[in-house]
């Protein structure tokens, strides 16, 4: 069976009550943003070495088991590996440093290096955004985003609505995954084996589920909109908040540390 729910964790929230879970969502969002910027600035293995230590630290503090993340990322990692192999094979290496060559395919040290950096960059991005979602509940994420982007409201940007669309999109990832599983199970019951056959056959079998999944996705979205309307939701206008957001001193300290790290890395 596919067991997608265990194998795709993007968009899930897992409450372990750790320090990171209790951090102010706005600060977590800012830090995530800093990391995203950092991932584009860092360009060598030493830089990413430090990053890996950082990711390990986040992982430990969050108390979310590494095995859980790895199992939940296998589809993503397989896809990444696939892309990177392409990146290496088609890298326009110079004649001097290729290790292996056949027709238009080649493996060069430069190609390996670039693909390695790209891989680390993507993993970094993936890890920090996944950790943000795993440790921040939907409400905190919405409220945090709304507060951060509140100034844009003055430019007549519908911030509340945009944030809500974004949050619902995230909320839908696990729902979609559940739906795929349900349909796949129904197909398996009718004798379509999803775990047999070559990669192409398997991909084609999964592809056949796409249309029903989109239809049920739209139905779900429609139901959710109706539910929100009957509960007096009118696009975030005049909405007040039940939850207070309070940044504790320790939250600010973490933010300061991250910024300090950025500046030091910048200077060195």
């Amino acid at each position: 069976m596919l067991e997608l729910q265990r194998n795709v964790i993007f968009g899930q929230y897992v409450d372990t009550g750790s320090f990171i879970h209790r951090m102010d969502a706005r600060i977590k969002l800012v830090i995530t943003f800093v990391f995203v910027v950092a991932s584009f600035l860092i360009g060598d293995f030493i830089g990413f070495g430090i990053v890996l230590l950082l990711l390990a630290l986040i992982q430990i503090v969050s108390r979310i088991p590494v095995g859980f993340i790895l199992r939940g990322s296998q589809f993503f990692l397989a896809f990444l590996l696939f892309i990177l192999v392409f990146q290496v094979l088609f890298y326009p290496g110079e004649a001097s440093n290729y290790l292996w060559r056949w027709w238009i395919l080649s493996v060069s040290t430069e190609g390996l290096y670039t693909a390695g950096i790209l891989g680390l960059r993507v993993i970094f991005l993936y890890h920090v955004t996944t950790m943000l979602m795993l440790t921040t509940s939907l409400v905190d994420l919405t409220n945090g985003l709304e507060l951060i982007f509140a100034p844009l409201q003055r430019l007549r940007l519908p911030v509340n609505e945009l944030v809500l669309v974004f949050v619902i999109a995230i909320k839908f990832v696990p729902i979609f995954i559940e739906e795929i599983e349900r349909l796949a199970r129904a197909q398996t019951a009718r004798g379509v084996p999803f775990d047999q056959g070559g990669a192409v056959t398997r991909a084609r079998r999964i592809g056949r589920l796409l249309v029903p999944i989109f239809i049920s996705g739209f139905t779900r979205a429609d139901t959710l909109t109706t539910a929100m309307n009957t509960r007096s939701y009118r696009g975030g206008r005049g909405r007040t908040k039940f939850r207070l957001m309070e940044a504790r001193p320790s939250d600010w300290a973490v933010l300061a540390l991250v910024l300090a790290w950025m500046i030091v890395a910048w200077l060195v």
Binding site: Y13, D15, S137, L138, V139, K171, T223, L224, T226, A227, M228, N229, T230, R231, S232, Y233, R234, G238, R239, T240, K241, F242, R243, L244
Partner: protein
Amino acid sequence: MIEIEGVSFSYRTGEEDAVPALSELDLRVEPGRFVAIIGHNGSGKSTLVKLLTAIQYPTGGTIRIDGVPVDEENQWEVRRKVSVVFQDPDDQLVMNRVEDDVAFGPENLGLPREEIAQRVESSLGALGLREIRGRLIEDLSSGQKQRVAIAGALAMRPRFLILDEPTSLLPVPVAMRLVATIRDLNRRENMGVLHVTHSMHEASLFDRVVVMEAGRKILDGTPAEVFRHVERLRKVGLDVPLAASLAYRLRARGIHLEGDILDETDLRAALSAVRSGPQA
């Protein structure tokens, strides 16, 4: 007061395959009443719920809630007066944590934070959800989810609470407890309740039972009055509770039974009165 006057509705109006779902329905429900709506599949119960909560609008006739006409213009005012709970809690829970979801409606009303906190607190308390307030909704049982959905509706402090088969996915004892809780709320808050159900046993616990068939109201009265029409109910695919149906058959054979018989206790009492002979 809910006033439904000559209301008709069909899905896909104007098209060839239009589906008439309600025709010329009249119904009045005073504030604070505890009303069950029963009817066979497709009799128009859910359609009625959709019209009362401004999800759909009548194609004919008018609906007024506390004097406010239910139309596009007044939809938001209507939704402040009427809260709805659907059959499947997954269709209506929006947030992913219990107390956040209960707070969702009041937040939309733009109430001050203290007021929201107080409403969340009392709604959670009323449904016995205080202990699980911080839990993730996806981890709850369907009974718990349904309670969260009701707590969310209650936190809106509606004049009328409308429930569309909220108990059909629940085991019978859980459903019974839920109905008892709703009755309690109805008494305490003087909140009107319209409860759609398939279960005749559940319906017998209400002050008033409205029976729908093919988009019309065919019977309306106290459970005792309605359950007297055993043949009529059977014709539209509804079964009178066993005790009431037995009483009906005994009476049909000329055995005189005193009082309204809705359940086993009533029946026992009436039968022992018969056995001990007519009192002087």
